[in-house]
Subunit: 294 residues, 2 copies
Amino acid sequence: MWKLDKNKKVLIIGLGLLGGSYAEALTDLGYHVGALTRSQSSIDYALEKGLIAEGTTKVDPEFIGKYDLLVFCLYPKVFLEWIRENQQYIKSGALITDVTGVKRSVVYPIQSILREDVEFIAAHPMAGREVYGVQNATKTIFKNANYIVTPTLKNTQEGIEACEELGRILGFRSVKTLSPEQHDEMIGFLSQLTHCIAVSLMVCKESESLVDYTGDSFRDLTRIAKINESMWTELFYMNKDELLLQMELFEEKFNILKEAIRREDTPLIHEIMKLSTEKRKLFDREKPKDPCDK
Amino acid sequence: MWKLDKNKKVLIIGLGLLGGSYAEALTDLGYHVGALTRSQSSIDYALEKGLIAEGTTKVDPEFIGKYDLLVFCLYPKVFLEWIRENQQYIKSGALITDVTGVKRSVVYPIQSILREDVEFIAAHPMAGREVYGVQNATKTIFKNANYIVTPTLKNTQEGIEACEELGRILGFRSVKTLSPEQHDEMIGFLSQLTHCIAVSLMVCKESESLVDYTGDSFRDLTRIAKINESMWTELFYMNKDELLLQMELFEEKFNILKEAIRREDTPLIHEIMKLSTEKRKLFDREKPKDPCDK
């Protein structure tokens, strides 16, 4: 029976913002946490700050083979490649999980090539900041965030429960389960589409003088317009079908409103605005009051 | 020489969120402030809280004729109508100003029918909250906001300076001047377009369960999706040409990004994202650090 407890050694593969934050949270809870990552300076930093107990930049079979829970924090293609090349070093019976922002295109390929005696239970910690790197890692990013577990038919009840438990002990506000399909539709809309909107809005105008007049509206809509292009482009491609669907859905609604304004269809515009106001109020009821929610 | 000083009596016409906030700020500065508004309960509230010295719901020629500075906080069409019907009661040499969110369609018609011995200097206090009514009025809404004065060839240097001074004493973060045309383009983009985006995004999905998964991205983009449909529709119509232009501009950029994703044009996507990140960073440098800017 694989249960998550402090006897399980945890290996973070990819010591960046999320990997470092997982490391900090788990080390603080008393877990033995190691790291495998490309950058020696990331390891040095993490050792110095006590985020990890040990670390290496080399794919060392003996090192890897010590661990019971492996958390992959790599770009999706690198993750798949890593499993293809190195999965033989993973301890038999180990559990592996991830933090990848898209699911179908990661979980199915990996599960299809993975050894029978190792289980991959995918998850998406919906946490992050517009900064990157282990130097910005902090376990506090989990506090107001959602953790999504995305099991498939290949996952066991044990594996799923262990992964949910991981989300709980990390301190996420909520731990939920979705299929990879539901996850990708959700993320395509709530996260990827919104970033596309923010970016498109941000690049509309040449003039820098707009900064002088900007009110809260523009600032709110472009807060997420600072974007790591390599990571986001890769995630977009890996969820392309869903993302394009969501973009087209948004375009359709936007166009309906635009044409209603053009022909001054007041009843329709009012209907859309009232629906919007109603739906938005649902958020206020659900969310604990954030002093920054003006 | 018309100068703004405490001997000038101020009349607020339309005692709502903005009118009430102007009243509070000016009364606290020692001005004599009166109000003319439709709702007796608004007047009662304002008298009780000491926002105004006196008020009436009736168009009373003697009452109106006492005032030196008239601040109109009415819906645009109502404002124009009011001037048409009641301008003869305004004291000779008085200065009138407003808070209307669009300029060309307000300032030119009003100036063209206004008496020669009364000056209308238009302004737009870019402040507001998603709530309405005098009970929500507070002079603190001016603190981090921009005040735009929109003079025309019919305005005098005195009138412009008095209006700028008004913005300064009300406590706005900045007082700037734009032509009505520049203002309408700016507001069409920064405020009206952004509200159209937020509303369109908000009405995309039926499912209430999205609330459960919402991260900061969606919340940021829909913060302004709560919208007073009467006021906003009227303002949209009165700036329709500019708003439609800005909506089409945004649609174009959004479509470019969408098609680049569809054909996996990585160099173009990266270019757009890097430009967006660069432009967004300009905001952070310009704005004093807001603890709520995550």
